[in-house]
Symmetry: C2
Subunit: 378 residues, 2 copies
């Protein structure tokens, strides 16, 4: 049976006999991720009540959100960017973390066991949505996992090529107005072929990026890589050359790609001393997190003309309208659009719905978020 109900107006009056799935999405998220899902006939979810609230409370309406959760008591929540955070005490039922038993994944409010067993998150990081205690108690969380790594790597390649070719000078209205300007810049373009390249990071983005760069670097010694704690043999297996340290990774590289996961340890690890290892004219590309970089130090290097930068991420987002990065010569800035591309969204939604169907049928899930991945996410 499937129900689309006005949850707050008509709360269910009895504990459900089958799984209750709360689709905590706004209409735009439904449109982007689940364009083909027919609400009146979800089909695959016959063994569940699929509940779509008429209006999803916002982050600014915690009481309404809590009331919705208490009224529906979902076993499963399908979440995305606009889903408000799950309250810790709704998960624990007021118990302390240490007092949680080993039996169930979560407690319930006011001593009633929390029914939630699975958060099917459509997008990336879940740290702002799901309290850590939910995973600690064995709750299941899935997200888009590594599906977007390829698009992030693809965007890193675009940023590098566009920067080397001085694309802002000829692309869009800025350059289109003057052929003479573009012609002058023709004398300052660079190729990616046979350049000294380094990648900071050895996750999915770094590995895909290494594959995309391979045709450019195969005749010039390949790609250097460093990621704290990643063994040399893992780096070699990914087709890269271990650099040994962050300083040695940066030393002498004409193009340096920042693809590392942010952790408390590596925050601002790309500082003035690290950047100083790059030679004059080098290009620094960041598709990871702005917080990995001492942005004041990078700004100094780009303003002076010593380094180029191409940044999809900055520490403060959305990037303020008066941010120097938006218009700085020598820098390319994109508004955190590395991944996924729009055309990937329905595929990501489809994989999530396969996960939901698997959960309801008792089959294993893909793209499960581990506690380690939870802690590394930002």
């Amino acid at each position: 049976m499937t129900a689309v109900l006005s949850a707050l107006a008509k709360p269910p009056c009895a504990f459900p006999a089958q799984s209750r799935v709360l689709f905590a999405l706004v209409p735009r998220e439904k449109e982007i991720f689940l364009p083909d899902l027919d609400l009146s006939n979800p089909g695959a979810f016959d063994n569940a009540d699929c509940i779509w609230p008429d209006v999803l409370p916002t982050r600014a309406e915690p009481a309404a959100w809590r009331a919705l959760l208490d009224a529906i008591r979902p076993d499963v929540i399908v979440s995305a960017w606009r889903t408000p955070p799950l309250p810790v005490d709704w998960i624990t039922g007021g118990e302390t973390n240490s007092g949680a038993g080993a039996g169930g994944p979560a407690g319930g409010g006011d001593g009633v066991p929390c029914p939630l067993r699975y958060v099917c998150h459509l997008t990336g990081t879940v740290r702002q949505k799901v309290p850590r205690v939910f995973l600690e108690r064995g709750g299941l969380v899935t997200n888009w996992g590594g599906q977007v790594a390829a698009q992030v790597a693809e965007h890193a390649l675009l940023l590098a090529l566009a920067s080397l070719r001085r694309a802002p000078a000829w692309m869009g209205s800025a350059g289109a107005s003057s052929a003479g300007k573009a012609s002058a810049l023709k004398t300052d373009t660079q190729t990616l072929f046979n350049r000294r390249v380094g990648i900071h990071g050895c996750g999915g983005v770094a590995r895909t990026l290494a594959a995309l760069l391979e045709p450019f670097t195969r005749d010039s010694g390949g790609i250097a890589c460093f990621s704290a704690g990643v063994p040399d043999e893992v780096i070699r297996a990914a087709g890269m050359r271990p650099a040994g340290s962050l300083a040695r990774l940066f030393a002498g590289k004409e193009i340096l790609f920042e693809c590392e996961a942010l952790t408390p340890v590596n925050e601002q690890s790309v500082d003035a001393a690290t950047l100083a290892q790059l030679p004059d004219g080098a290009l620094f590309v960041n598709v990871a997190r702005g917080q990995l970089v001492d942005e004041a130090a990078l700004l100094h290097e780009v303003r002076s003309g010593r380094l180029q930068a191409a940044l999809d991420v900055l520490a403060i987002e959305p990037v303020p309208a008066n941010s120097p990065w938006r218009t700085l010569p020598g820098a390319i800035w994109s508004p955190h659009i590395a991944g996924p591309t729009s055309d990937m969204m329905p595929r990501i939604g489809s994989v999530a719905m396969q996960n939901l169907a698997s959960y309801l049928a008792g089959r294993p899930l893909s793209h499960l978020v581990s506690l380690e991945a939870y802690d590394r996410a930002t």
Copy 2:
């Protein structure tokens, strides 16, 4: 012995005992291509008189150019973009083509044998510089040959990625002014991974491009290719899938790269019927020649919003300031900068100087222009 002389002011008075090499370059070309060549000590060319005119006549000064040629009577000319065309009658000495003997490569003015044996051209096409009769008579011509193919392929990849990511909306001053605009466009970006891709052409650019695209297409059937007269086995050896015809190449391709050499036969071969084979929303990328395309038909498809275009070349160049291509939504335009990049120029100059040294020492030359290549160039 080496001489840098004011050729028109002080013409040589006797036929030289050794090779006379005329560097018919403007200072900017010297600076771009031969930055390290020391005029006072060329070193490698001890067995030649290297003659650098103080002022190179322009294309608009044919009489001064002819006088310079008659005065210097070079065995070798080093030429580039600004070198005026070699007069046909200076090559033939007034003889008709059919009357040319088989003995020497060229005749001389007024019955005097033309001394020119070798044109060491620093850049690409030589058709506007060297009459065909010079090659017919066995004259040697070298140019940058396939050295720039990799950069042209690289630019084709940049144009495709930039178009799929709607880069003009966020790159440069056009997009930098509005985060909201970029965010809205975020919902309309596309990936190059696993797209249906075709390449028109099977020369150096197409082959390098196929290698660059391989990581994007390896899981989705690879890359289709068609080039008139190129056997299927050659296409397969280049890692692509023979399409069989131009119409079948275009049929159903989401991204179509135009990399074919222009010949009288294939001019405007990409016409309305060919473009109609592309599906709605497809992207057409041209890094070859504008004349291959019926630009009115392409403009119609892009204006209607059915197709996207990313063009480094147009039939009329320099592209007029009021050309619709410069500002058309759905089109990216770059000012014929695909190849080579600026940083390749000194390498190209260096290879040409190696060729010059080889010629003077009687060794074989690289990047020789064949009559077939001459006829295919534009």
